[in-house]
């Protein structure tokens, strides 16, 4: 009855070509869900994997196209490349598209690991039927029937979708929804390990509870930001911040609470405590995906929120980030020394790397076109960190004993002799993590440190290098274990992977060396991406 009186609601204006990579991934995910329903079980796994991988590949291609056309769509008035699309929900800008590219590449590598089926005798690393209690007859039955949860592919695709939107969200509401879109599938996938399912379920529960808890903080921060600025859009908030319209304390509380949610996702101290438990418990391919993808997406989102929305309050948040960076580096590096489990150790290393990334962030250096800025340094660091992390976790999947992956460090003794190339690759990743020159990790460290120093924080650089020395200690210990120590007893077996995992390891190792020797193109990409579009 009111219809006639109301003005019509005009349809939204969506730049489909710009956000096509997101749409492609969405399509792949939805298609995957349909495959789950329609394709017979025997062929489902292959089809699912193919859909996911093809979707990602298509998205990669499209992302490259989008990146190249960014200049064309550049509007006047802002310094960055790209534009805000979809009614202000997404900002398809240089850093954002580069992040898409990174996320897609990480996802591609991780999906290859997801699809690996040779290690478990023709079954994937995911449990056959999650509803069965571990060790129950049902579980054995499911294993015997060789059923698999092929849903991980659409789930992972949804997570990827969430990550991509998270990194490019231009309003806080979209960001929050994207945060949940990326988190929920990960919560689920953490609990799907085939082996050590008790740990896996526990990891899922912990990740879920803490994730939900921290995202509420983020949300409250969003609410306060809305209360401060009256809008969720980053650009509008930035205007409010620079014009100092609202109450400062409201702004500060908003910054703080949003930081909590974002720092949780990148596992910065003191919001890191979920990381080791979840990384250890989750199925290793998922850990790889999570470690590389979540951190990348969350970090870019963090940069976006802080540089775009709160750029006017830099002097308020920089000291705190400074301290968090130091504490994170310190704790991550230090505690990893005492770890005896490879996955936990990599988790703590991931915490330490969050600290190093924060160093680049704390520099808050905008830079000029020909100089390394905080954004470009962090993008580069994320690239090298993500690649090496996926490679390292890929190797973790191969070192096995009767109980599945042999993640206890003592089982890695003498690996260098048993399989020099595998151990050599792992050593390479460790050296890259440690920041030894001629590996990509070194260039990454250099980049974030130079961003910090350019921003005027040279003491942070000094602390950073000292912390890298501490961190190096445990990377070096792993090398000692693999190459200088003789195996205890039989030593673990090294499973022969299919071409999928082999490809991942080879590609990541090659990229680690390549980016160490010839970082120019990637740096160019990161630097050319320019600044965030407001």
């Amino acid at each position: 009855m009111f219809t006639a009186d109301l003005p019509p609601i005009t349809g939204p204006d969506v730049e489909y070509s710009l956000i096509a990579p997101i749409l492609i991934i969405t399509a792949a995910a939805v298609l995957g869900t349909l495959v789950e329903a329609l394709v017979p079980r025997t062929r489902r796994f292959g089809v699912q994997a193919a859909v996911a991988v093809v979707g990602v590949l298509a998205a990669i291609g499209d992302t490259i196209w989008v990146y190249q056309s960014l200049d064309a769509v550049k509007g006047g008035g802002h310094s960055g490349r790209g534009q805000i699309s979809t009614e202000g929900a997404l900002s398809v800008d240089g850093p954002g598209v580069v992040t898409w590219l990174l996320l897609l590449v990480f996802a591609l590598l991780s999906f290859l690991l997801f699809a690996e089926r040779r290690l478990e005798g023709g079954l994937s690393a995911f449990t056959g039927r999650a509803a069965d209690a571990p060790g129950s007859a049902g579980e054995a039955e499911a294993t015997a029937a060789r059923i698999e949860h092929t849903e991980v592919f659409p789930l992972a695709s949804f997570a990827l979708l969430g990550m991509m939107v998270f990194a490019t969200a231009n309003d806080l509401l979209t960001m929050f929804v994207a945060l949940e879109v990326l988190s929920l599938p990960l919560y689920l996938m953490c609990g799907l390990a085939r082996r050590r399912r008790l740990l896996s379920q526990e990891a899922a529960l912990k990740y879920f509870l803490l994730g939900a808890f921290s995202s509420v903080f983020f949300l409250y921060g969003v609410a306060l930001a809305y209360g401060y600025a009256g809008s969720f859009e980053l650009g509008r908030i930035a205007v409010a911040v620079s014009s100092r319209t609202g109450s400062d304390t409201l702004l500060l509380a908003s910054i703080a609470l949003m930081a909590v949610g974002l720092l949780f996702k990148i596992s910065a101290v003191p919001f890191h405590s979920w990381t080791p438990d979840v990384y250890q418990g989750a199925p290793t391919p998922v850990t790889a995906f999570m470690a590389a993808g979540t951190k990348t997406a969350a970090f870019v989102a963090l940069l976006r929120v802080f540089f775009v929305a709160f750029g006017g309050a830099t002097w308020d948040w920089r000291p705190t980030i400074w301290v968090i960076a130091v504490v994170t580096m310190f704790l991550g590096a230090l505690v990893s020394i005492a770890q005896t489990d490879v996955k936990r150790m990599l988790a703590y290393s991931s915490i330490a790397h969050a600290g190093f990334l924060l160093v680049g962030f704390a520099g808050a250096y905008v830079g000029t076109t020909d100089r390394i800025s905080s954004v470009s340094s962090v993008l580069f660091y994320l690239t090298v960190y993500g690649i090496a992390t996926i490679g390292a976790f890929a190797i973790v999947t191969l070192i096995r004993d009767a109980g599945g992956e042999a993640t206890h460090l003592s089982r890695w003794a003498g690996l260098g002799k048993a399989s020099p190339f595998l151990a050599g690759s792992f050593a390479l990743f460790m050296l890259s993590f440690a920041g030894i020159p001629l590996t990509s990790g070194f260039i990454g460290k250099w980049a974030v440190f130079s961003a910090a120093w350019s921003g005027g924080y040279w003491p942070l650089v000094v602390i950073g290098v000292l912390m890298s020395a501490v961190a190096a200690y445990f990377y070096v210990r792993v090398i000692v274990l693999m190459f200088f120590t003789d195996p205890v007893g039989d030593g673990p077996t090294i499973a022969v992977p299919s071409v999928l995992t082999t490809t991942v390891i080879a590609a990541t190792a090659a990229a680690t060396v390549f980016l160490g020797l010839v970082p120019g193109p990637m740096l160019d990409l990161a630097q050319h991406a320019g600044t965030f579009v407001r």
Binding site: D5, P7, P12, D171, L184, G246
Partner: protein, 262 residues
């Protein structure tokens, strides 16, 4: 404003109830109170649409889901009052108090500026305004929620759904099988009597007695049989027990026995 001042204490108390109630169901009910009160506040704040959604979705659907799961895992479960993590409760209280105080003082008091009110925004009705935003700036988020819902559905399926691998065996199937087995191997389709039936003792190691007085070894657990711990359950046991109860005929005092040993 009146509604607020009535509802606010109720909500706080209910929230405290949620935290303090020992039984999960009580906690759930407390939460429901908060939610319904909130709905009222939404209405008071010019958000009729949310009022409805809060009641329907939150209180209706979500809380029901909670209660449903509570039923599933045991409605009677209640937390023990002993805190197992040292200092957790103290620290939680301290941090909570500080956070609350800071929040209330710094944030709550910081909200300044005139209240614009929603009259203008709600000019075409609250749902219209919301719809305009939903299909405007927030269309992407709106579409994203579909991904969320699919994820939730798939997730629930993955974790809770047991795919049936073998055809379901009905009672008819079972009885048919039993009879066939009886025909082929002679295995009795009925249950064997439990140990101790008609026997002198009803202990698990005593076989049941058949009506004809014969013991039935199958009634005793196979593992006891394997270990040879089965009593025969016949009258000679009585003598044994009598011996155990009564002292032996020429038993002396304990110290005499010692002397005898020498």
């Amino acid at each position: 404003m009146t509604a607020f001042w009535i509802l606010a204490p109720i909500m706080v108390l209910a929230a405290l109830g949620l935290v303090l109630a020992r039984k999960a169901v009580h906690a759930a009910l407390c939460l429901a109170i908060v939610m319904i009160s909130l709905a009222v506040l939404y209405a008071a704040q010019g958000a009729p649409f949310l009022f409805a959604v809060q009641i329907i979705v939150y209180t209706g659907a979500i809380m029901m889901l909670f209660l449903f799961v509570l039923m599933l895992v045991g409605v009677e479960t209640s937390d023990s009052l002993v805190e197992t993590i040292k200092g957790q409760r103290l620290m939680a209280t301290v941090v909570g108090l500080l956070f609350g105080i800071v929040g209330v003082l710094v944030i709550g008091q910081a909200v300044t500026g005139a209240v614009t009110g929603l009259d203008e925004a709600n000019a075409n009705g609250n749902p219209y305004g919301i719809a305009k935003l939903l299909f405007g700036p927030y269309v992407l988020a709106f579409e994203l929620t579909s991904a969320l819902l699919i994820t939730a559905a798939v997730g629930a399926m993955v974790l809770a759904h047991r795919e049936r691998l073998v055809p379901r065996r009905s009672q008819a199937d079972i009885s048919r099988d039993r009879m066939r087995e009886y025909a082929e191997t002679g295995r009795h389709p009925g249950n064997p009597p439990t140990p101790g039936v008609f026997a002198r003792h009803n202990a698990v190691d005593t076989p049941a007695l058949l009506p004809d007085g014969r013991p039935m070894p199958e009634s005793v657990s196979a593992s006891l049989v394997a270990r040879g711990q089965v009593r025969d359950g016949f009258d000679d046991d009585v003598d044994d027990i009598a011996k155990a109860i009564e002292p032996p005929p020429h038993a002396g005092w304990p110290f005499d026995q010692e002397g005898d040993d020498q």
